[in-house]
Protein backbone atom coordinates (compact mmCIF):
# COMPACT_ATOMS: atom_id res chain seq x y z
CA UNK A 1 0.00 0.00 0.00
CA UNK A 2 1.94 3.00 -1.22
CA UNK A 3 0.79 6.05 -3.12
CA UNK A 4 2.99 7.63 -5.75
CA UNK A 5 1.99 11.10 -4.59
CA UNK A 6 3.25 10.54 -1.06
CA UNK A 7 6.44 12.56 -1.60
CA UNK A 8 4.37 15.47 -2.94
CA UNK A 9 2.22 15.33 0.19
CA UNK A 10 5.31 15.40 2.40
CA UNK A 11 6.73 18.35 0.46
CA UNK A 12 3.42 20.20 0.66
CA UNK A 13 3.29 19.61 4.42
CA UNK A 14 6.81 20.99 4.70
CA UNK A 15 6.35 24.13 2.61
CA UNK A 16 2.60 24.64 2.98
CA UNK A 17 2.04 24.80 -0.77
CA UNK A 18 -0.97 22.63 -1.51
CA UNK A 19 -2.25 22.49 -5.05
CA UNK A 20 -5.97 21.97 -5.51
CA UNK A 21 -5.40 18.59 -7.16
CA UNK A 22 -3.25 17.45 -4.26
CA UNK A 23 -5.92 18.59 -1.80
CA UNK A 24 -8.51 16.64 -3.74
CA UNK A 25 -6.23 13.62 -3.83
CA UNK A 26 -5.72 13.84 -0.08
CA UNK A 27 -9.47 13.60 0.51
CA UNK A 28 -9.66 10.35 -1.45
CA UNK A 29 -6.41 8.63 -0.49
CA UNK A 30 -6.20 6.92 2.90
CA UNK A 31 -2.45 6.40 2.57
CA UNK A 32 -1.76 10.08 1.93
CA UNK A 33 -4.13 11.15 4.70
CA UNK A 34 -2.10 9.05 7.08
CA UNK A 35 1.13 10.46 5.64
CA UNK A 36 -0.14 13.98 6.14
CA UNK A 37 -1.07 13.22 9.76
CA UNK A 38 2.36 11.79 10.61
CA UNK A 39 4.30 14.41 8.65
CA UNK A 40 2.37 17.32 10.14
CA UNK A 41 2.79 15.98 13.69
CA UNK A 42 6.51 15.42 13.29
CA UNK A 43 7.08 18.75 11.56
CA UNK A 44 5.22 20.59 14.30
CA UNK A 45 7.47 18.88 16.80
CA UNK A 46 10.55 19.80 14.75
CA UNK A 47 9.45 23.43 14.65
CA UNK A 48 9.11 23.42 18.44
CA UNK A 49 12.57 21.89 18.83
CA UNK A 50 14.06 24.59 16.63
CA UNK A 51 12.37 27.33 18.67
CA UNK A 52 14.26 26.38 21.86
CA UNK A 53 17.48 26.33 19.94
CA UNK A 54 20.69 27.82 21.29
CA UNK A 55 23.29 26.67 18.82
CA UNK A 56 27.01 26.78 19.50
CA UNK A 57 28.65 29.45 17.30
CA UNK A 58 30.06 28.27 13.97
CA UNK A 59 33.39 29.97 14.65
CA UNK A 60 33.89 27.89 17.77
CA UNK A 61 33.31 24.65 15.87
CA UNK A 62 35.61 25.80 13.07
CA UNK A 63 38.44 26.52 15.53
CA UNK A 64 37.87 23.21 17.30
CA UNK A 65 38.06 21.36 14.00
CA UNK A 66 41.27 23.19 13.08
CA UNK A 67 42.82 22.25 16.42
CA UNK A 68 41.81 18.64 15.94
CA UNK A 69 43.18 18.64 12.41
CA UNK A 70 46.54 19.83 13.74
CA UNK A 71 46.48 17.16 16.44
CA UNK A 72 45.81 14.46 13.86
CA UNK A 73 48.61 15.75 11.63
CA UNK A 74 51.00 15.77 14.60
CA UNK A 75 49.98 12.24 15.59
CA UNK A 76 50.56 11.03 12.02
CA UNK A 77 53.94 12.73 11.88
CA UNK A 78 55.09 11.12 15.13
CA UNK A 79 53.68 7.71 14.26
CA UNK A 80 55.98 7.27 11.24
CA UNK A 81 59.28 7.45 13.22
CA UNK A 82 57.79 4.91 15.64
CA UNK A 83 57.05 2.55 12.77
CA UNK A 84 60.53 2.98 11.32
CA UNK A 85 62.10 2.46 14.76
CA UNK A 86 60.04 -0.70 15.26
CA UNK A 87 61.01 -2.14 11.89
CA UNK A 88 64.68 -1.30 12.42
CA UNK A 89 64.49 -2.84 15.88
CA UNK A 90 63.17 -6.10 14.44
CA UNK A 91 65.87 -6.23 11.75
CA UNK A 92 68.60 -5.36 14.26
CA UNK A 93 67.41 -8.09 16.70
CA UNK A 94 67.47 -10.66 13.93
CA UNK A 95 70.95 -9.70 12.67
CA UNK A 96 72.33 -9.55 16.21
CA UNK A 97 71.00 -12.99 17.09
CA UNK A 98 72.40 -14.55 13.93
CA UNK A 99 75.74 -12.85 14.47
CA UNK A 100 75.78 -14.05 18.10
CA UNK A 101 75.12 -17.61 17.09
CA UNK A 102 77.87 -17.61 14.49
CA UNK A 103 80.29 -16.15 17.06
CA UNK A 104 79.73 -18.97 19.54
CA UNK A 105 82.46 -21.63 19.59
CA UNK A 106 81.06 -25.08 18.89
CA UNK A 107 82.21 -26.22 22.34
CA UNK A 108 79.63 -23.91 23.96
CA UNK A 109 76.55 -25.39 22.42
CA UNK A 110 77.84 -28.91 21.75
CA UNK A 111 76.97 -30.20 25.31
CA UNK A 112 73.34 -29.08 24.82
CA UNK A 113 72.67 -30.73 21.52
CA UNK A 114 72.28 -34.35 20.58
CA UNK A 115 75.44 -36.15 19.43
CA UNK A 116 73.76 -37.08 16.18
CA UNK A 117 75.39 -34.33 14.19
CA UNK A 118 72.30 -32.06 14.19
CA UNK A 119 73.94 -29.37 16.32
CA UNK A 120 74.14 -26.80 13.52
CA UNK A 121 70.51 -27.28 12.53
CA UNK A 122 69.29 -27.04 16.10
CA UNK A 123 71.31 -23.89 16.71
CA UNK A 124 69.93 -22.33 13.56
CA UNK A 125 66.39 -23.32 14.53
CA UNK A 126 66.93 -21.73 17.92
CA UNK A 127 68.26 -18.58 16.31
CA UNK A 128 65.29 -18.46 13.94
CA UNK A 129 62.86 -18.94 16.83
CA UNK A 130 64.56 -16.15 18.78
CA UNK A 131 64.39 -13.89 15.77
CA UNK A 132 60.70 -14.64 15.28
CA UNK A 133 60.02 -13.89 18.95
CA UNK A 134 61.97 -10.64 18.65
CA UNK A 135 59.93 -9.65 15.60
CA UNK A 136 56.66 -10.50 17.33
CA UNK A 137 57.78 -8.46 20.33
CA UNK A 138 58.55 -5.48 18.11
CA UNK A 139 55.15 -5.79 16.40
CA UNK A 140 53.33 -5.90 19.74
CA UNK A 141 55.28 -2.84 20.83
CA UNK A 142 54.33 -1.02 17.64
CA UNK A 143 50.66 -1.90 18.00
CA UNK A 144 50.65 -0.67 21.59
CA UNK A 145 52.27 2.55 20.44
CA UNK A 146 49.61 3.02 17.77
CA UNK A 147 46.84 2.71 20.35
Amino acid sequence: MKCEREQQVIEATRNGLWSSSLRAHLRNCAHCTQTELIAASLQEDAAKAKRVLDLPPAGLIWRRAQTRRREIALERATRRPFLIAGALGAVYSMVFLLWGIFQLPPSVYRPFVAPSGLAGNVALSGAALSAILAIIGSCVLLLETKR
Binding site: S41, E44, A46, A49, L55, A65
Partner: protein, 161 residues
Protein backbone atom coordinates in the same frame (compact mmCIF):
# COMPACT_ATOMS: atom_id res chain seq x y z
CA UNK B 1 36.36 24.39 2.55
CA UNK B 2 37.15 27.87 3.87
CA UNK B 3 35.69 29.39 6.99
CA UNK B 4 33.13 31.52 5.16
CA UNK B 5 31.77 28.53 3.27
CA UNK B 6 31.59 26.59 6.50
CA UNK B 7 29.64 29.40 8.17
CA UNK B 8 27.13 29.32 5.31
CA UNK B 9 26.86 25.54 5.49
CA UNK B 10 26.44 25.66 9.25
CA UNK B 11 23.70 28.28 9.00
CA UNK B 12 21.83 26.14 6.48
CA UNK B 13 22.16 22.76 8.17
CA UNK B 14 22.75 23.17 11.91
CA UNK B 15 19.14 23.72 12.99
CA UNK B 16 17.62 20.66 11.30
CA UNK B 17 20.59 18.57 12.35
CA UNK B 18 20.29 19.72 15.96
CA UNK B 19 16.56 18.98 16.00
CA UNK B 20 17.21 15.51 14.55
CA UNK B 21 19.83 14.67 17.18
CA UNK B 22 17.82 16.24 19.98
CA UNK B 23 14.66 14.34 19.18
CA UNK B 24 16.46 11.04 18.76
CA UNK B 25 18.67 11.41 21.82
CA UNK B 26 15.94 13.21 23.81
CA UNK B 27 18.44 15.60 25.30
CA UNK B 28 19.42 19.13 24.23
CA UNK B 29 22.79 18.79 25.96
CA UNK B 30 23.61 15.65 24.05
CA UNK B 31 22.40 17.36 20.88
CA UNK B 32 24.82 20.25 21.47
CA UNK B 33 27.72 17.89 22.03
CA UNK B 34 26.95 15.65 19.08
CA UNK B 35 26.30 18.60 16.79
CA UNK B 36 29.77 19.97 17.45
CA UNK B 37 31.32 16.55 17.10
CA UNK B 38 29.48 15.99 13.81
CA UNK B 39 30.84 19.16 12.23
CA UNK B 40 34.33 18.56 13.64
CA UNK B 41 34.41 15.10 12.09
CA UNK B 42 33.01 16.44 8.86
CA UNK B 43 35.77 19.04 8.61
CA UNK B 44 38.62 16.76 9.71
CA UNK B 45 37.62 13.74 7.62
CA UNK B 46 38.42 15.46 4.33
CA UNK B 47 34.69 15.82 3.75
CA UNK B 48 35.21 19.52 4.08
CA UNK B 49 35.82 19.59 0.32
CA UNK B 50 32.33 18.27 -0.43
CA UNK B 51 30.05 20.79 -2.10
CA UNK B 52 27.79 22.41 0.52
CA UNK B 53 24.70 21.23 -1.38
CA UNK B 54 25.87 17.62 -1.09
CA UNK B 55 26.99 17.87 2.52
CA UNK B 56 23.60 17.24 4.12
CA UNK B 57 23.53 13.41 3.83
CA UNK B 58 27.13 13.20 5.07
CA UNK B 59 26.32 15.31 8.10
CA UNK B 60 23.26 13.23 8.93
CA UNK B 61 25.31 10.09 8.43
CA UNK B 62 27.97 11.23 10.89
CA UNK B 63 25.33 12.28 13.41
CA UNK B 64 23.55 8.94 12.98
CA UNK B 65 26.78 7.03 13.59
CA UNK B 66 27.46 9.06 16.71
CA UNK B 67 23.95 8.37 17.97
CA UNK B 68 24.40 4.65 17.26
CA UNK B 69 27.65 4.66 19.23
CA UNK B 70 25.73 6.11 22.16
CA UNK B 71 22.95 3.58 21.85
CA UNK B 72 25.43 0.74 21.65
CA UNK B 73 27.12 1.91 24.82
CA UNK B 74 23.71 2.11 26.51
CA UNK B 75 24.17 5.79 27.29
CA UNK B 76 20.82 6.59 25.74
CA UNK B 77 18.88 5.12 28.67
CA UNK B 78 19.83 7.78 31.12
CA UNK B 79 18.64 10.52 28.77
CA UNK B 80 15.13 9.19 28.48
CA UNK B 81 13.71 11.23 31.32
CA UNK B 82 10.71 13.04 29.83
CA UNK B 83 11.05 16.46 31.50
CA UNK B 84 14.37 17.92 30.47
CA UNK B 85 15.64 21.47 30.44
CA UNK B 86 14.77 23.21 27.21
CA UNK B 87 12.07 20.73 26.33
CA UNK B 88 9.13 22.17 28.22
CA UNK B 89 5.88 20.47 27.38
CA UNK B 90 3.31 22.24 25.28
CA UNK B 91 0.06 21.59 27.11
CA UNK B 92 -2.04 22.80 24.18
CA UNK B 93 -0.82 19.96 22.00
CA UNK B 94 -3.26 17.12 22.40
CA UNK B 95 -1.18 14.60 20.54
CA UNK B 96 2.25 14.67 22.05
CA UNK B 97 4.54 13.58 19.29
CA UNK B 98 7.42 13.20 21.66
CA UNK B 99 5.51 10.53 23.54
CA UNK B 100 4.83 8.86 20.24
CA UNK B 101 8.49 9.04 19.29
CA UNK B 102 9.47 7.48 22.59
CA UNK B 103 7.29 4.49 21.90
CA UNK B 104 9.03 3.84 18.62
CA UNK B 105 12.33 2.05 18.21
CA UNK B 106 15.36 4.27 17.59
CA UNK B 107 15.63 3.10 13.99
CA UNK B 108 11.94 3.84 13.39
CA UNK B 109 12.25 7.29 14.91
CA UNK B 110 15.25 7.99 12.75
CA UNK B 111 13.65 6.90 9.49
CA UNK B 112 10.40 8.74 10.15
CA UNK B 113 12.26 11.91 11.01
CA UNK B 114 14.40 11.84 7.91
CA UNK B 115 11.47 11.04 5.64
CA UNK B 116 8.76 13.27 7.07
CA UNK B 117 10.65 16.15 8.63
CA UNK B 118 13.68 16.40 6.37
CA UNK B 119 11.72 15.28 3.32
CA UNK B 120 14.49 12.94 2.22
CA UNK B 121 13.94 10.40 -0.51
CA UNK B 122 14.69 6.71 0.09
CA UNK B 123 18.11 6.98 -1.52
CA UNK B 124 18.98 10.04 0.56
CA UNK B 125 17.88 8.22 3.71
CA UNK B 126 20.02 5.27 2.65
CA UNK B 127 23.01 7.60 2.33
CA UNK B 128 22.29 9.17 5.70
CA UNK B 129 21.84 5.92 7.58
CA UNK B 130 24.06 3.44 5.78
CA UNK B 131 21.08 1.19 5.00
CA UNK B 132 20.21 -0.09 1.54
CA UNK B 133 17.44 1.69 -0.34
CA UNK B 134 15.33 -1.45 -0.35
CA UNK B 135 15.74 -1.88 3.40
CA UNK B 136 14.80 1.77 3.89
CA UNK B 137 11.60 1.22 1.95
CA UNK B 138 10.58 -1.78 4.05
CA UNK B 139 11.66 -0.37 7.42
CA UNK B 140 10.05 2.96 6.69
CA UNK B 141 6.81 1.27 5.72
CA UNK B 142 6.76 -0.61 9.04
CA UNK B 143 7.71 2.47 11.04
CA UNK B 144 5.01 4.46 9.32
CA UNK B 145 2.40 1.83 10.03
CA UNK B 146 3.38 1.73 13.68
CA UNK B 147 3.40 5.53 13.98
CA UNK B 148 -0.03 5.69 12.36
CA UNK B 149 -1.35 3.11 14.81
CA UNK B 150 0.02 5.03 17.78
CA UNK B 151 -1.26 8.36 16.49
CA UNK B 152 -4.67 6.83 15.78
CA UNK B 153 -4.79 5.34 19.26
CA UNK B 154 -3.93 8.69 20.82
CA UNK B 155 -6.48 10.52 18.73
CA UNK B 156 -9.18 8.04 19.72
CA UNK B 157 -8.21 8.46 23.39
CA UNK B 158 -8.47 12.26 23.05
CA UNK B 159 -11.89 12.02 21.39
CA UNK B 160 -13.17 9.66 24.10
CA UNK B 161 -12.14 12.15 26.79
Amino acid sequence: MDEQTFHALYAATAKPLWAYIARLSRSPDVANDLLQETYCRFLTAKLGNVEPAEARPYLFRIATNLLHDRWRKGEDKRWSEPAEIGFERDLDTQIDVRDLMQQLKPRERQLLWLAYVEGMTHSEIAKSTGLRSMSVRILLFRARRRAAELLGRKERAVHEV
